[in-house]
């Protein structure tokens, strides 16, 4: 039986997974985002999932449903904990292979199987109690409820349990006298440590951290430990012979469907965990309404995910912005204040379209977007090109290659393209490119200092990076939909420091 929570039709995945990232990843900071999301989950090889845009609105909705189930805290918690435990199981298996003491290996194997059984049982129990709505997770639940009551799984769990109990009950005694070690059953002698601890207990209060001694916890045993456990096994012979037979019988035990689910679940866990700190900081994320061939787009209160993470880490404030394309608009022209957040604005638009296309929740309070087949980016590079003409040539060459791949469902993002040439040239080149964009009926974002581009045709709409109305020195990082302008503002110096009567009163009222 196959059940994938990433793809409704399992063939879809065969087309797609690829290791190398799409070209736009670097320009849009999607590489940072993907790296941050998958960090700590490298063994699952999740990046290919991010590299593969979905090709239908139904495929997007399939993931949205699964995401919505994952958003249920109970579901999230049980799958997260399952995944955590399975990671432990894999690590333990790898470690066990490196050991050489047979008694130690056997015990490791036993405990690893115990952990596996418990994890699967816990997950099944939790999913059975949960209200699920996605076909992906409902299919999985069905599979698990059959697997866990199977004969095979039942006897594995029972035998494991019994042996663990027997081993835990063993209490023995070691007497060290010079070079001699004696091992026997524990005979009930009183605890001297407890007596000392009690006498000095009154000095233990307060802020003093009890001294922790770091004993090297090698996973392997030294020959003294081996000698001791060997003698313990002789003191309790029945238990240890059962253990040996058990290990022989259950060499392989991992179920392949369970293992595949564990990997796919990482995509959802990782993405939700990535969004969580942002949500906690008051930022909004949403499921975009995605439809193939929609003629308008909108997204409100959205932001650059990579930047937001960095700002939160530095305790900075994240500015949110809106973007919208109303029929017949296809091109957003972004102009305005230097360092006013124009590139960030362009980047967040690219991120939003791309991430919506792989079925993710995206930054923003509300979003409705067409499904794009690819996001093409044209950012100025500071690359090894010596002369201006060489640079322009390189830049135009890149643009041409983008157009070779472009379709009417593609989004092109131009960030200050050709701006290193003369104004006249830049204007000409940008106009030409936008004309081609219009001809091909593509979507486009064009960041530029050329105000004229903002009003080229009914297909263009102007966005402006604004400055504080009272202090032109303060950047707001707000980019708003309005005609291009070039205003500078002046303001009183006391206002700048928030030291007017009104501002001081206000500041002191909190």
């Amino acid at each position: 039986m196959r059940c994938s929570i990433l793809f409704d039709a399992p063939d879809e995945r065969l087309l797609t997974e690829r290791q190398e990232s799409p070209e736009c990843f670097r320009d849009l900071n999607l590489d940072q985002i993907a790296a941050a999301v998958t960090a700590g989950r490298e063994p699952y090889d999740l990046l290919p999932i991010f590299h593969l845009p979905l090709t239908s609105a139904e495929a997007v909705r399939y993931r949205h449903q699964v995401f919505q189930d994952f958003e249920n805290p109970a579901v999230f918690a049980c799958i997260a904990s399952f995944s955590e435990r399975m990671r432990g199981v894999r690590a333990a298996l790898a470690e066990t292979g490196k050991l050489y003491c047979e008694l130690q290996k056997q015990r490791e194997h036993l405990d690893t199987i115990g952990e596996y059984c418990e994890s699967v049982n816990a997950l099944t129990r939790a999913l059975t109690l949960s209200q699920l709505n996605s076909s992906g997770l409902m299919r999985l639940r069905q599979y698990l409820s059959e697997y866990t009551v199977s004969m095979e799984f039942g006897s594995l769990a029972a035998e494991t349990d019994a042996l663990q109990g027997d081993l835990a009950a063993i209490a023995y005694e070691v007497r060290i006298d010079g070079k001699r070690i004696e091992v026997s059953r524990y005979g009930g002698e009183p605890d001297y440590a407890a007596e000392v601890l009690e006498t000095f207990a009154k000095f233990k209060q307060g802020a003093v951290d009890p001294r922790e001694f770091a004993f090297r916890n090698r996973s392997a045993m030294n020959h003294i430990e081996e000698a001791i456990v060997d003698r313990v096994a002789r003191v309790f012979p029945e238990i240890f012979s059962t253990l040996a037979r058990y290990c022989e019988h259950y060499r392989e035990f991992l179920d392949p469907v369970v293992a595949e689910f564990e990997r796919e679940a990482q995509f959802y866990l990782a993405w939700l965990e990535y969004l969580r700190p942002l949500e906690r900081a008051g930022l909004r994320v949403c499921y975009p309404e995605v439809s193939a061939g929609a003629r308008s787009s909108r997204c409100f209160d959205t932001f650059d995910l990579a930047l937001a993470h960095r700002l939160l880490a530095e305790r900075g404030a994240v500015v949110v912005n809106d973007f919208e394309l109303r029929m017949p608009e296809r091109i957003m022209v972004v102009s305005g204040a230097n360092q006013g957040g124009k590139s960030t604005f362009a980047r967040l638009i690219g991120q939003t379209y791309y991430l919506a296309g792989i079925g993710c929740r995206v930054a923003g309070r509300e979003a409705a977007l067409p499904l794009v087949d690819q996001v093409l980016t044209h950012f100025e590079r500071e690359e090894h090109v010596e002369t201006l003409s060489g640079k322009l040539e390189e830049s135009l060459g890149r643009m041409r290659r983008l157009f070779e791949r472009a379709t009417p469902s593609s989004l092109l993002i131009m960030n200050e393209s050709f701006d290193s040439t003369t104004v006249r040239d830049a204007l000409f080149l940008n106009r030409e490119v936008l004309r081609r964009v219009t001809e091909r009926d593509m979507l486009c974002v064009c960041v530029t200092f050329l105000d004229e581009l903002a009003s080229l045709s009914e297909k263009t709409v102007s966005y402006v990076a604004t400055v504080n109305a009272k202090d032109s020195a303060t950047r707001t990082y707000r980019v708003v939909r309005r005609p291009a302008e070039g205003l500078a503002y002046a303001m009183a110096i006391a206002e700048k420091y928030g030291l007017t009567y009104e501002r001081v009163r206000e500041r002191l009222s909190q």
């Binding site: 060290i176 070690i181 004696e182 001297y192 601890l197 000095f200 000095f203 001791i228």
Partner: protein, 510 residues
Amino acid sequence: MKAHLMFRDRDLDLTAQPAAGAEDLVQDLSLESIFAAMSGGDPYLRDVAQRVLLGGLEETAAIRYRQSILADCIAQPEIVRRMYAIAVSAIEGERHVWGFTLRHPEGVLHRAVEVLGIFRDHLRELRGIADAHVGRFQSEGFRVFFTMLEGELDDAYLARIAEHLNRLRFRKNSLLMSARLGRSNKGTQYRIRKPLNVRLTLRERVECWAKQLVGGETSTFVYELDDRDEAGFQALQELRDRGIAPVASALAASTAHILDFFKMLRAELAFHIGCLNLRERLTAKHEPVCFPDTVSNEECLVDARGLYDLSLTLNMEGRAIGNELTAERQRLVMITGANRGGKTTFLRSIGLAQLLMQCGAFVPAERYRAGVCSALFTHFRREEDVAMRSGKLDEELSRMSAIVDRLREGAMVLLNESFASTNEREGSEIARQIVGALLERGMKVIYVTHLYDLAESFYRVSPVSAVFLRAERLADGRRTFKVVEGEPLSTSFGADVYRRVFKSEGAHFE
């Protein structure tokens, strides 16, 4: 065990970072000379004095608690200094016990036993002082402290400690431990069991061997290390260490805690010793000091007689000039008048007295009554600012803004020639807005200024809601360095200073 000679309910925190703006207080109020006087040359005393002075109390009850302890110290200086010496000696003693192999429990245990021996002697000495002198102390703090010593360290308890210390001096003896099988069948939960020091007799040994030879029914199995098996002996030592670790860690925690107790005693007495040092300096030159009458914030701003500048008197031969000030319900004091007429000195004397009062010390005055403040801030014109004209107002405003950020209701703000770096109109307007808002939000403001426009506008609006003072100038132009009540005058007296300074040159003036 707590000393609690600074706070009724908590320890003195010597790790706390000074509040932001503390450097301003140190600089503006010339606190260095006070720290120096309190230290008597001991850098430790200086450090504690600085921390305590800059971390004032906010409640009258807490202030009175500390005042009464300080009063006891003033009455019994020799006893208090001796207790301080005991604390210092215990701390020094601990430092000189050499700890080798401190990573190993047996090493730690050995050192802890040595240190506890030293501490026991010092604790006993402290007990001796408590027994002999408890009757001479009146304050709640000292009484509770002495009672605590008697209760916690009775003779029976000190004897029990001695017994354990003797028993724990075991090394390399036979050791009996119980254990269980932990992860991967390695031993865990090692506990030392009594009997500790019993060696097996020859006969017991023979019996053991005999049992083992017969086999089967015996439950004791033996392993013996080869004499040349160095790695084995190391492993064996680690095994012993695992058993000893809990005891070693408990004893190490006890020594750390008792050390903390001595450190805390030293720290909390250090402030009082510092006050004793300061008081001796002042009484030697017949400067008056008194314990202030501390009232609630709303009840009074300050009512003082013979108030003098502490840092000034510590830096001169004779006595400093005393001033009076009565501001009961008013929350603004505005001081204008002759340059070099003692305005800054007067402002500083108020700040210093407030600071000393708020940390429970005596104050430099004949009589002093004042409301407790939530915090004290200073905004003084800076000498170095004169050099760099440009951006000076910027600098002043940004400092002020930083103060506003930290202000809480009930704070006292001392302003010294603030906002005079621009022209009088602008400076006055900025100051008026700030001061107006501060007063409205429940701050107390004492403002030294020669901005006539500013002072006059407050006087005109309401001459009774504020106290207006002037640096006194006699009819013949001489200064008395006294500050007296009076409405703002429209001229400062810079010309006077100019005249005096340039007298020899016969310079012109209006």
